[in-house]
Amino acid sequence: MSRLLYSILTIVLSCVFATGASAQSLSAEQILSNSDDVSNEAPDLKAMVEMVLIEADGDQSVREMEIYQKGADSRMMRFLSPAGQRGIGFLSLPDDVNYLYLPAFGRVRRIASHVENQNFAGTDFSYDDLSSFRFGDEYDPSLNESTETHYILELTPKSGISSEYSKLIMWVRLDNFYPAKIEYYNRSGDLWKVLEQDDIQQIQGYWVSMGREMSDVISGHSTIMNMTEVEVDTGLSDDIFSQRYLTRIQ
């Protein structure tokens, strides 16, 4: 019995120390890389998205859209409501190639990357915030702190990268490396926006945040984004991420 207890104790302690050693030994770059991997792990994703825009005085309005995503840098979004925006589509492709479809004009328009730092359709998410990209490609990380549940990274834009943010503080979950919270600081160094990613679920083996909230702490405006009808790894064709599909009626 005592031998059994001794064996169990040895295994538990080994695991604890091994985990601790692993946490200690991971560099900020490795943590961010793992986080990017987890965030972009699903080969493709299709979902319905509800965005609730909350004014500083509490007034709310709702946007609904469908979203298709493949890999880390192909995404298509189409508005379903409100009525005045129904049918508007946005296609984001690799190498900063973006297209906007406005049904009233019946034409797809090429959009240069200058829009990426602008708010998307009145929400608190910028085009850049909504695009699926790897933080490691654009930011240099440093590890500020490790808590019992999170790694806390500080990200600063890499040299040559144009960003509206002077730095980001990112809380990366210890258990699955999913980024649970990000603070965005403006060029003056003041806290500007806070992103909180809740309801992080594993769908078909891939971690997905079903609910997230972006708060503009300067204006008091915030946007809650909820995903439903999430489907991952369904083998979405590359063809969907094209102007051809952007204009299709659904």
Binding site: L53, G106, R110, H114, E116, Q118, E164, I249
Partner: protein, 461 residues
Amino acid sequence: MISSHSDTLHGFNRAMLRTRSTLQFPLRLFFVLPAICTSVLFAQENISIGGYVQTENHVAFDDQELTWSENRLNLKLSAGNFMDYGLFSEVQFRGFGYVQIDSVSMLQGLEDSGSYPGGVELREAYLDLYSFPFNSMDLRLGRQIINWGTADALNPTSNISPNNLEILLDFGEHLAVDAFQGTYYGSRANLTCVYVPTFTPARLPPPGYSSALLSAFSSGMSLPPGVSLEGFTQQVELPQRNLDESSQYAIKLSSFMQGFDLSLSYYYGRYDLPTPCAISMPDSVITLIYPKVQIIGGDFAGAIGSVGIWGEGAVFFPEEVLLDIPGLPAEEMLKDEPYVRFIAGCDYTFGNGVYVNTQVLHGFLHELGRKNLNDYLTFRVERDFLNSKLTLVPVSFAVSVSDRDDPAENYGLAYVPELTYRPVDNIEITFGGAVLHGEGDNLFKQLNDRDEFYVKARASF
């Protein structure tokens, strides 16, 4: 500015009747397809019905004349399954301006639509067949608006759908055409073919504005001594109602290379604005026709750094138009010599949200023939406030120079600021104005006394 206009339903029906007598069965089937669309639409479970109610009023500064007053109910129906097919139909009910009554008998027949101007318009009605007849092909059949080109609003390569100029400064609006459009999607390029069997002319603005557009064609007219065009009746002659005379067709090859969207296009058809071809002296009638034209175009869009850039150009090959004047040698109104119209522009959004857009243009959409082409510059500054509830366009102007040798006496300027407020979702109120000034012979000079302000309110549902 976004608005939507089209031919009247009556006009559409007339077009249907015209074509019925001359077209063969496959083409008849093609025209009937929009009607089939409508019936199929009601068999769908995923029908989407929406639209908007809009009121738009323009008032002249000088005499407070209501130059445009329109109330509109727009209805859109759509259905589709994204992978196989889509159906779209848009109808609008419009009522215009003042009651037109000049006799007691008209007061006694108030149901007379002529007294209360308005109408029903079928703006678009088409059927999309995706991956048909094979995987790399999409078809669009029926009444549709076809917009080509990469520039903002003023596109030399967009010649299939005629211009809708009923609100003159709302450039970029087009009318629908009854068309067959097929696009083949290749691995490196896409090929689009369009066939339009019937001719649809551009819609012109109210009389005071139309003269500004048409003056470009008539500026070179030589008249017999002592004869002036005042009091002449203008008579428009449409192409004959057969496929040889009324058809248009176009092809576009588009691709993506080195980060740029590129396309080449060819168009065969007619100008959508009329040109004088004959003057009849005894009855004081000027006859105008729609000359044939072939157009080869090209465009690109992309970015240099984070600045968006685009360009578009077209070579026009018009047919010759001679003006017959009794007792005088024929006057050449439109030479059969090629000429080029082009536009180039760029845009950028600054970190503070200020959006800037500028374009340079050689040849406006109403300028036909090499001798009539002028140069223009447009510049627009725009910024959203209150999370896009408020959009302010404090600077939006166009400058034109009609004679580079003497620009001080040959220039035009249009200043069109605008403010749009969206108090709640689906409600949009726009206030704007237009200040027009010019010297010499140019579009804005012709509109000198047409300064105006306008209010437009739209509720979408």
